[in-house]
Symmetry: D2
Subunit: 252 residues, 4 copies
């Protein structure tokens, strides 16, 4: 029988962490060896025999957690925000001294969302027009969403690299805001609606045809398949990887 | 055998008029008795025995055409724009002297579009949130579309009459335009995409659910069923009717 | 200050009942005066001063509950299944002796779902083609869903009453099942997909245009606005009403 | 100034061919040097200086046309059907003797359609569930569409290669046909609706999320960007290529 991967979850009492605990326990190829909350000692990870650490904590503690894991030869899958360039560079320096250890830091673990962004970028150079609509619950405070901004940036970069011009637009009379906001020249529209969770739609148009890529995230369970995929693949990707798409087999 | 309705089309050489000529000829319960273009004499309508006139001309001539029809006891179905309040009042005065004649003036003959607006208005008071997305080809010069503005106005009026407050929105950080424009307090987003024709989506949201009403207009053939429906019903609606919804049986 | 409506919830420990308890407590115009579970005595409803009873129990007990309510002059809003013709007739006989009491029995309290069915029926006679797609989680054992069957029946009845023929279909070569099943002549397709909850889409098509009515039910919170609307309106509808649409103002 | 590519269109009087003539004439980097209809001599291609041949003829003549092109050192972009295995093998033998010549034979030139199939296949191994809905005008005689069948086959092959099991489905009670047809274990549903042209939707679902890939083909102009892309790239792909995706840069 194949041995189960020994996994520890940090931030186990948070909403995401609690989901991860359930997901790891339910995965037949994994064994939950530790579930730490705020204030628990990292040393217990060593005693528990953890080889994989899932960090879903807070920006204040994620760096210390990951450094501890690397120094102890454990691979890390990180969903916590707060990793600026300085932290990333410092982590890479540390990893250089532990060449067998892998770390995945991903801003988004929903497979569908990651695929939507990747497909949108690749497809966008084949179409005259591209616009993005993101839809969220009405308690969200920022517009557009971070995911939509990243998608727009990826799309804009691919189109520029391919020499594709801006989407055509003959608008001369506009009620302010009707045409959405612009992110690197790509129009983005933000809808806020009670009942929704987190959704993104990328619309691509050419003569006589439209391609629509849509992702619906209905609840945070949607992040768990991506977290598990990260755990299963992190050992095979030593060093630092940013973004789950680095682990996906998307060669077409 | 039932007698066929004798129909004349004015503006028969225009794009809409040409479609109407084909639609009337294909309708088994109608007979095309005249098809007039620019410069043709209205007197020929009398000689041809027209009882129904479909006016798809230009703002400059539509008033004269309709007045001629009414004065000669012909019913009129009008898709031409340019009917301001002054013209409408003057027409009502004329119709008062011809109590058996019906005139339908409709800004939109696409049944699906008229139904979308009517359903959106009726449904909107049962949901916390409502937003509108309209999508058109990129050669359109105005944003949002006239249809979306009218839908938003109808929705806003129904919600106000029912005492429903504005859609919730916690946005505090917005990239300018992300949340669309506002029409009577209703958010409207305008997408412009090569390949599209004319599309409208009304999104309604409440706790745990969403209702979406979407209309796609793929080509101007979509206006013809509404024009024929107008011809078939105009005689039963003496006086002036504005808007095709006045002829639809939507009592629920 | 307006007096709060005194409401009792029966089946308060079930999943729907627990949601209803929360919804009533959160409603500013209502007061939860009793929350009964299996085995609790109905007599306590009288002591608690309940004037409105929300029954979300099981088919075995719903009839006794509703009869008790009516006999004690309380209005009832019922979401429990199991009301066959015999039970309904017996209830109407009872209500004849209590002319001031109202009872609402509804198979579906999601406003968006009720509106989708009603709009679909009304719109369907104006289009050549109509088909229904329903989409649910893959643990559902029946296909198509009861809601889709009811929608198809309503649509078929409206089209027949209006003399509209069947949707055109030139299919001569079909891989078995490709064209879905038929309910009263209306094609219905059932999709089963992990991640989904309960969704229905009605597609209506005519020359050059499409009208789409879509309802998404993301969680059972979606039933609560309909339950509260029922409570608020039941006293104004003495006698028996079957179906929430009877309380909706949909005259168009 | 860059030299224009000298292009000939065969089948120039057919509907697709006429579109291709317009598209080549409108492309700034191409020059239409010949437009041949039924009965026109292929020899005129040589006189006209054609270096690229677009074949949009009929199954009876496409093989002869392509062989003539290859034998005269012209690259060929072929949208005509009727290329069975025997013809393809014979063409490859011919091409072996003309190693600088490229031939592209594609069953579908709509970029969005080709991308939808490619993305669906790649994404499908990351989701528990996948189903396909294709929607067409009601005059189509076969169900499901050839495009949907090919997409299902690609999806099934990718999932099998990745060891992903069948989509979960607890259905025990089914009205015949409700769950669609099966193509290599993938459920496919065919909708037929007046007003539609050709549309395909691939639905992928995992815990808490859905990814939707949708392609709408509104008119046959949608094939032209793919044809032009073929002409621009065929010289760089000597030998035989089947399927436009072979020319697309989709490495992700």
């Amino acid at each position: 029988m194949t041995q189960q991967l020994p996994v520890a979850v940090l931030g186990a009492n948070g909403r995401m962490g609690a989901e991860a605990v359930k997901a790891v326990e339910a995965a037949p190829d994994m064994k939950l060896v530790a579930a730490l909350g705020r204030g628990d000692s990292l040393d217990s990870l060593v005693d528990a025999g953890a080889r994989y650490v899932v960090d879903l904590t807070v920006p204040e503690s994620t760096e210390e957690n990951v450094r501890f894991a690397v120094e102890n030869g454990m691979h890390a899958v990180v969903g916590t925000t707060g990793w600026d360039l300085g932290r990333l560079e410092s982590l890479e320096t540390l990893l250089a001294g532990h060449p067998e250890v892998g770390v995945l830091i991903a801003p988004n673990f929903a497979l569908g969302s990651v695929l939507t962004s990747a497909f949108a970028a690749k497809a966008s150079k084949y179409f005259e027009s591209v616009e993005i609509i993101e839809l969220h619950h009405p308690d969200k405070v920022d517009a557009p969403s971070g995911t939509a901004v990243r998608t727009a940036q990826l799309v804009a970069a691919e189109r520029e690299a391919a020499g594709v011009g801006p989407s055509p637009d003959a608008t001369t009379t506009e009620l302010a805001g009707a045409r959405g906001c612009e992110v690197d020249g790509v129009r983005v529209h933000s809808v806020r609606l009670r009942g929704l969770v987190a959704h993104q739609e990328v619309l691509l148009g050419g003569p006589g045809e439209q391609l629509t890529l849509r992702h619906d995230s209905f609840d945070r369970a949607s992040f768990m398949p991506g977290v598990l995929l990260g755990v299963r693949n992190v050992a095979a990707h030593p060093g630092l990887t940013v973004g789950l798409d680095g682990y996906l087999d998307l060669g077409l």
